[in-house]
Symmetry: none
Subunit: 266 residues, 3 copies
Amino acid sequence: MDAFNGILKFLLNQKTVIGYSFMALLTLGSERLFSLVAFKCPCSSENVVYGLVFLFAPAWVLLILGFFLNNRSWRLFTGCCVNPRKIFPRGHSCRFFYVLGQITLSSLVAPMMWLSVALLNGTFYECAMSGTKSSRLLALICNHRPKECWEELHKVTCGQTSMTATDNEELKLSLQAQSQILGWCLICSASFFSLLTTCYARCRSKVSYLQLNFWKTYAQREKEQLDNAFLDYASKLSERNLKCFFENKRPEVFPMPTFASWEAAS
Amino acid sequence: MDAFNGILKFLLNQKTVIGYSFMALLTLGSERLFSLVAFKCPCSSENVVYGLVFLFAPAWVLLILGFFLNNRSWRLFTGCCVNPRKIFPRGHSCRFFYVLGQITLSSLVAPMMWLSVALLNGTFYECAMSGTKSSRLLALICNHRPKECWEELHKVTCGQTSMTATDNEELKLSLQAQSQILGWCLICSASFFSLLTTCYARCRSKVSYLQLNFWKTYAQREKEQLDNAFLDYASKLSERNLKCFFENKRPEVFPMPTFASWEAAS
Amino acid sequence: MDAFNGILKFLLNQKTVIGYSFMALLTLGSERLFSLVAFKCPCSSENVVYGLVFLFAPAWVLLILGFFLNNRSWRLFTGCCVNPRKIFPRGHSCRFFYVLGQITLSSLVAPMMWLSVALLNGTFYECAMSGTKSSRLLALICNHRPKECWEELHKVTCGQTSMTATDNEELKLSLQAQSQILGWCLICSASFFSLLTTCYARCRSKVSYLQLNFWKTYAQREKEQLDNAFLDYASKLSERNLKCFFENKRPEVFPMPTFASWEAAS
């Protein structure tokens, strides 16, 4: 039983890792589903737009979803019209952009995962690139290849070119290889960039490592207890109000925090 | 029941060994998955870049992941801008690089495993080498082989050369053999190097073997108790703060360690 | 229940035997796995290097692993730079080499097992020998055989020679037989050598057989009790330190063994 508890505790400590792994698996699954069920390359001049939309639109949706699910963005924006001083405090006018940058960075994780997975799979990029009209890109792709490549590149993904099947297959493999190389480059640079920013943020922190750990534990406990206290106070307040309503009495005074202290606590 | 406890204790003592074995199995599995699902050698002039990207990009990602998951790197960097004296203490200016080196070495384990497994499998190296244009490498590979080898080496992995099937198969086997030889060399030298560095680190240690064991036990106990103490203090502190908040009171004084002692304890 | 305890006790007494058997089975399994999954003889001029790498690289890794897992090597090296007198005590300057030799001997068990198993299987040796260019070895192998043997020996393991199938099979069997003979020789000499060294070490021992048995039991008990004492002391010390840390007090004096006594106990 002790060993079981140990394993459970270990898993709870690895919450972040497990969360990200789960997110990666979800992204992988949905990408597979999309590229199998919904994605059908039109093999016409619309290839570029079609491919790019499938590549970037889900990333954009995931970015906005990230903003939605991030508590800190709501903490920042709630009530900022009433109290503009809150997001642009005197002397710390760049604090707003600093916090916004943090939120954006943490929301960028899911879109980056999508882009990486989509590029590693290669279907979307293959379709987008095969529709290109830019002569420089064409020269890059059709280098050392038959003449038909210049004319019928957009038909490659459907296999309806007048080239031989081998040439067609080669061209597809080459486009997929480019996509995967781009994907790995994206993953490598994104992970390096995230290490750098985390390092920088930790360096700028005014507290030491242990103190930071303590505040993390504290924040978690406070959140739990705050939820409980909210539930408690809300029950009491609503009970009082309902009682007063049914008995047609004036509500008694109920001790509530002032507006300023709510504001400060946020 | 006693025997069962004995086995459990034995397994807990071998934590490091089990952890590394698990890591090795995971690396092996993911390498197999990658080379079966995602890896398709383009058999064109992109072979070199494609193969090398698949060989080194995951290693790079694993290295960065190692930095992320290493507590010591955060302990080192947290708050280092506020207090630059911390990472470059007077008289011990090379201590920073010493600790950074230690972190890098322990983060290098996973990338080394990936490289070893990938080289022993041979798929990535085979693709990368078959696309080479360097005349010295070509001379090395195509020695005692038919002329077509010089022209169509990049098509070998797809089996679409004008050589006989036997020659093609032989060339592939030879490339895979090179990859495996390289892999074993990497494993042997890495294990020897790790033995040397561990030996050196142990030699430089200022305490004896038993004392070191004691401090390991101590560090583990302290970590456990610190976590519990953190939880305790955090509960008390947050309870006090919430009470004050809802009752509109000034918070009472709470005994907390000073900044300097936090700093020293980290 | 009594019988069960008796069997358990008997098994615990045979710990060493069971451990070695388990190790042998593990070696056997991994050798089979390697020679089936990873090993593909290239049948070219690389045969010698390829075969020898598969024969000796795992042995080398196992040797280094043996050093890593041997507590005595760390007991020897820890702190030896600070206190060079420790490994080269006055009057016993060869003690270091004596202990190092003991550690090496006990680390050699696993590599020897690998070599024996690999030679008895014969795949690696067959590949390595078939690629030889040395005229003396060729004369030894191709004695009383068709002329093609001299030219196409490296293709024997793949069965792609211009010899008849029977000749080819005969050659392979002959190489495998050599490998197995070598393997049995290695096993015989290694077991004889280990008997000799154990005999010699026992002869040099200054205590009698019963006394030695007593010291073994004593050492085991001491180790167990030491671990418990470590855990106890560590708990107490960390509790005191954490208390002082959170309450901003100076730590009280804690009775600890001096450095010299740690050193002597190691």
